[in-house]
């Protein structure tokens, strides 16, 4: 079984912030939900409670950046761009303030439904000049997200996993790099975030069915290394499938599509993700299955790409990990 790490952000942030005096911890009434309650209690002089007022928080963070501080802004990802979008542009992105936007509960990792689910955040953030985007896919990436984010000369938006997080990798985020998880020659699979764990399960089943998978994991979504992707596209025979915890417009699927179109690559592409739809409230495994974001959906897509039934059954896919909605690792039922 994969190692599960509990609240990896909590310790990682505290360790990083303590070592860097110009890092400040900002929270918008979701302090324990973003795993910074311990930091608040132990380092109250470095913690700024800004309440449920995200528009002010964004411009306030810009002012702190103007004073030379590097605020880490903590809230659910969805609250970092939907309500305070104007402030995000004018106070943070345009002037390239070193504001670190730590967005928790990306996509369908929350059962909170439409209002809580950041499903178009990558698309929005990608189109903002000066913005960098990072996404965590495992505990090691969560543990290294603070250092990675704080290395950015400008604003950065991070999709951060919380609670009980699997450890899939043993090396920290290297900003700008792509993780090559397998180097097969039939089909290229590109994933990020929680989709990577699903793809790793599908990959094993597909390998047993005789399909050689080349699997890339992205933690740096912007800037995106299109040249590296071109090499991988050239290395597979049949095409590419993207799987993302996000709508299929403007995210990883679009990034791959743009690369293919920009360079005239003659390879088929299947984009998996939320298909021009909102999600609703439910458990992560339920939502991933319902919306076609899981290992089974990925296997089906590879079958479509190859135009061939592979005979991979449910039993062939590793057991789905179920998170209890109520767990000691979470601050509340979300």
């Amino acid at each position: 079984m994969v190692e599960m790490v509990t609240r990896p952000y909590a310790g990682a942030f505290e360790k990083y912030a303590v070592a860097h005096p110009d890092v400040l911890c900002l929270s918008a009434d979701l302090t324990s939900s973003c795993e910074i309650d311990g930091f608040r209690d132990r380092h109250p002089d470095r913690f700024l409670s800004l309440g449920m007022a995200e528009q002010n928080m964004m411009s306030f963070a810009g002012g702190l950046g103007l004073a030379g501080f590097r605020p880490f802004v903590h809230t659910f990802g969805v609250f970092l761009y939907r309500r305070p979008y104007d402030q995000l542009i004018a106070s943070v992105a345009y002037p390239r303030r070193k504001v670190r936007l730590m967005g928790f509960l990306p996509g369908v990792t929350t059962p909170g439904g439409m209002t809580h689910q950041a499903i178009e955040d990558i698309s929005v953030m990608r189109s903002i000049p000066n913005m960098t985007i990072l996404e965590t896919g495992d505990a090691t990436e969560v543990e290294s997200i603070c250092e990675a984010a704080d290395s950015i000369d400008g604003p950065v938006y991070c999709r951060v996993l919380r609670g009980s997080v699997p450890r899939l990798f043993d090396t920290p985020i290297e900003v700008g790099a792509i993780r090559e998880l397998s180097r097969g020659v039939d089909v290229l699979i590109v994933t990020a975030g929680i989709a990577t764990e699903e793809a790793m399960r599908a990959r094993e089943a597909l390998a047993r069915a005789g399909v050689s998978i080349r699997h890339l994991h992205l933690h740096t979504l912007k800037p995106f290394d299109a040249n590296a992707l071109l090499d991988h596209l050239a290395a597979v025979r049949h095409g590419v499938v993207t799987l993302e915890n996000h709508v299929t417009e403007g995210g990883i699927g679009s990034m791959v599509a743009e690369t293919i179109a920009d360079h005239g690559v003659a390879k088929k592409l299947i984009r998996l993700g939320l298909k021009d739809t909102y999600a609703h409230g439910g458990s992560r495994p339920y939502l991933m299955r319902y919306y076609g974001l899981d290992a089974g959906a990925l296997v089906a897509a590879v079958e479509r790409l190859l135009d061939e039934k592979l005979g991979v059954s449910e039993a062939d896919l590793a057991a789905v990990r179920i998170d209890a909605v109520h767990s000691a690792a979470k601050a509340e039922a979300l």
Partner: protein, 308 residues
């Protein structure tokens, strides 16, 4: 810098320059100069502790927006002097007051008069709606309501660093309609940010006309106080009242001066255009000529020569 003029002279100079510019260009943000000239003059000529300008008297051309590759980028804050710890910082929250703000820089010797000739010209940094790179500006405030939040964050950070310099925000009453203004006040009060100062030009005007006919905001001073600020209400054309208001003790709270003003102060013929004063464009050459002679007489200058 040594004051070469009285604050009253600076204020008159601001009105004259904005008037001249607006007559020549057949329109402009005239009413903002009428209501705010005395406040801007007082800030720059007396209240703000600013160092010598660090940017050329004649503004540089537009040199690109901030980006990872535009390494020479800088804001227009250098016209307010260097960001030294002991110096004050000024944020002009309503960026459409830029014309009046530029005129102020000229009047206090921080920008050459040629700067105003570049106003709203293609390729110029002296933009119509003050941009971050425009003279005297440090942040973008073209969308109203974000200036006080930025000032609060900057002030918190400066206090944290032990800098004695204050943060002043010049505001307008229209942005009081924005919820963010109240988020900012409650934040500054909650965190005791008392090195934050604001002066609000309450001219009762917004784009659609008189604020009372667009969205009434009630008792501004009382609202600021209930949200936790120390607020002082004054006649925004009374410089002595500004001097006294700024001395108000406000431990643990931001100080907000609510300055009631007239949008046609010093240019009374503009009253005929009330309540549509946000941006005055003359309706006919006849009106333009009438305004020219009448306002020029009130401002004590000869009528402006212009090409109809």
């Amino acid at each position: 810098m040594i004051n070469a003029k009285t604050t009253e002279e600076v204020a008159l100079g601001i009105r004259r320059r904005v008037f001249e510019h607006s007559i020549r260009n057949n329109g402009g943000y005239l009413s903002q100069a009428c209501s705010a000239a005395d406040q801007l003059a007082w800030l720059y000529n007396e209240e703000l502790r600013l160092g010598e300008p660090t940017l050329p008297m004649i503004p540089k051309s537009f040199a690109g927006v901030p980006s990872a590759t535009n390494r020479d980028y800088h804001t227009g804050a250098g016209y307010n002097g260097p960001p030294e710890p002991q110096c004050d910082r000024l944020i002009i929250a309503p960026a459409h007051y830029a014309l009046a703000a530029y005129a102020t820089l000229i009047e206090v010797g921080r920008m050459a008069a040629e700067g105003l000739e570049m106003f709203n010209r293609d390729g110029s940094s002296v933009e119509m709606i003050g941009a971050e790179h425009s003279p005297g500006m440090e942040v973008h405030n073209g969308t109203l309501g974000i200036g006080l939040s930025t000032g609060a964050g900057l002030a918190w950070g400066r206090r944290r660093r032990g800098e004695p310099g204050r943060v002043w925000v010049f505001m307008s009453d229209g942005e009081i309609q924005e919820g963010q203004t109240w988020e900012a006040v409650q934040t500054a009060a909650y965190h005791g940010i008392d090195n934050l100062y604001a002066i609000v030009d309450v001219n009762g005007q917004q784009c659609d006309g008189a604020m009372s006919t667009v969205m009434g905001v009630g008792d501004i001073k009382a609202k600021f106080e209930v949200f936790g600020a120390c607020a002082v209400e004054i006649d925004g054309h009374d410089v002595e009242a500004m001097r006294q208001a700024a001395k108000t003790s406000h431990p643990g709270k931001p100080l907000i001066i609510v300055a009631h003003t007239s949008p046609y102060r010093g240019m009374s013929p503009l009253k005929s255009r009330f309540p549509r004063l946000h941006y005055v464009r003359f309706k006919s050459e006849r009106e333009r000529a009438q305004m020219n002679s009448a306002i020029a007489a009130e401002l004590g200058v000869a009528p402006i020569e212009y090409t109809p």
